[in-house]
């Protein structure tokens, strides 16, 4: 499976819009939403014939048997995640517990055991030959990076080796992004022309480069600030990063997204720009893969 990942550094820059248009244009048979924190891609991909849902378990978490606990405070002393709640009998806050099992090892009366915890749902949708892998995380669970890896693994299991898969990435530069970047052939960064989005863009490019993933850049809503758009172009030129195009602000985008329409079937300034960017992305990707 060849993977093209759409990333943004900062959220809300139009990553999912670009990804969904790319999927429609490429008629990709495999795609995934790696933003398990706030998945959005399913909202614009229409309905599917088949849905396969499986429970996703994170690390087992600690539980205290209150009938055994002698309130010695040992677990509280060692837990570095503030997950132990003292009291007449001790309790563990399952939201903050990271499942490290340190407390288990120190409890003198064996009152602590671990319990498997469902932390999310993995979902695989099918429509004809299309496969769409995504997931939702149970509120308050923190194993995002691993769930992203599961989403990708699930997609890989139903994708031919030579096929191109399009991945909608996650925002930020933390564990989920690192997991979405792994094994990717090209990361297309969707930036916005603002000082803050530019600063985020630089950080996420640094992350991608640390993982040796080639990057390319586009600017969305470029007319919001042509000056900063220019600065981003210059930055890309200096850093030898392919700059693949600019997408104008287009009020029709919101209206058609809200109707659940894919931009690929529109003929508006923004959708046409994305179509041109798609062609260029494929070119850059081919060069990378051939290298």
């Amino acid at each position: 499976m060849h993977q093209i990942l759409i990333l943004s550094g900062k959220g809300g820059t139009g990553k999912t819009t670009v990804a969904s248009t790319f999927i429609a244009l490429s008629q990709a048979k495999a795609y995934a939403d790696c933003d398990v924190d706030a998945p959005n891609l399913h909202l614009v991909m229409g309905s599917f014939e088949k849905e396969q849902k499986s429970d996703y378990f994170g690390l087992p978490k600690a539980v205290i048997d209150s009938s055994l606990c002698i309130a010695c405070n040992r677990c509280f002393e060692v837990c570095r995640f503030d997950a132990v709640i003292p009291g007449p009998t001790y309790r563990i806050d399952l939201i903050t517990c990271e499942g490290c099992t340190y407390c288990l090892h120190v409890c003198p009366v064996g009152a602590i055991h671990t319990q498997p915890m469902k932390v999310g749902d993995l979902k695989l949708y099918e429509r004809g030959e299309e496969h769409f892998s995504t997931a939702t995380l149970t509120m308050g669970s923190g194993t995002t990076g691993k769930l992203v890896s599961e989403v990708k693994k699930q997609l890989k299991s139903c994708t031919e080796e030579t096929e191109v898969a399009i991945l909608d990435g996650s925002p930020g530069i933390g564990c989920p992004v690192i997991a979405s970047l792994s094994g990717v052939d090209l990361a297309l960064m969707v930036a916005e022309p603002s000082v803050s989005a530019f600063s985020d863009l630089k950080r996420v490019i640094t992350s991608a480069r640390q993982l040796q993933v080639p990057v390319a850049v586009v600017v969305n809503k470029f007319d919001m600030n042509p000056t900063i758009t220019g600065e981003i172009e210059v930055f890309c030129f200096k850093e030898r990063i392919p700059f693949l195009g600019k997408i104008p602000y287009d009020s029709q985008v919101i209206a058609s997204l809200n109707k659940g329409e894919n931009l690929a079937c529109l003929n508006t300034p923004a959708s046409n720009a994305i179509k041109r960017i798609y062609d260029k992305t494929l070119q850059v990707w081919k060069e990378r893969v051939q290298q």
């Binding site: 690390l59 490290c100 992350s207």
Partner: protein, 285 residues
Amino acid sequence: MPTDRTIAVLSGKGGTGKTLVSVNLAFVAQHTTYIDCDVEEPNGHLFLKPSYVQEEVVTVGKPVVDQTLCDGCKICSKACAFNALAVIGGQLLIFEEICHSCGLCMHICPRKALTEVQKPLGIVRKGKSGSIAFLSAEMRIGESSAVPLIKALMKNKHSGLTIIDSPPGSGCLVTEAITHADFCLLVAEPTIFGAHNLAMVHELATLLGKPCAVLLNKTQQGANPSETYAKSHDLKILGSLPYDQELAHRTSEGLVASEQSEKYHQYFSQLLQEVEDASNPHSQR
């Protein structure tokens, strides 16, 4: 109105105007504390342009092995829940990036071959922007969990009104940030994405037992799925901020709208008042 309250500004995703709203609320409030908890990609300083008075490196403990003491017994590698340790060819390897610094391995090594060394995780910066106390932190690129940075930031929380510019999403970082808040202001865009993200943070705030209300951002003609969501879930709408190209442009330049324009100064002053009223446990109407 002197308030001793912490308001977290949230959105299911970035780019919805969370930082815009936070810095403007802080600006109109003055004599307040602004905390940028988006430690992966802090942006608040680009707007409030604080002068820094202090920088502090935040460290986390990571194990290091003394190979002369280690006999490769694998007790530690079997115990590590995060698979951050492995014994290969009799040698203990430590994968620092995935180590959660829980401390277990150092405790259980029978030969005391592991010791804890502090490694930098990021920087906490303290500054002033006029009368606003400014706090932010920046995670070192390549680290996987920034939760300790948010904890370090929150240690510096003073009394008085505090505005938390929360990280995006609804994962572990957000949970950590809003644990410290009394009230959550949810910023939502007028798209189906916006409504979906709003539903997620609403669920999270409810799960954590935090009162919350919504601010509709970038509103324009036509349907607003976020508004529909709020109305059908009895989520109080504190206001709406229409899409304004001028505002978008100022914001993209890193300018604080309420400093630049009387109109926005008034807008955010009123919003602040609404937030304070809504978050006041004694004035639940």
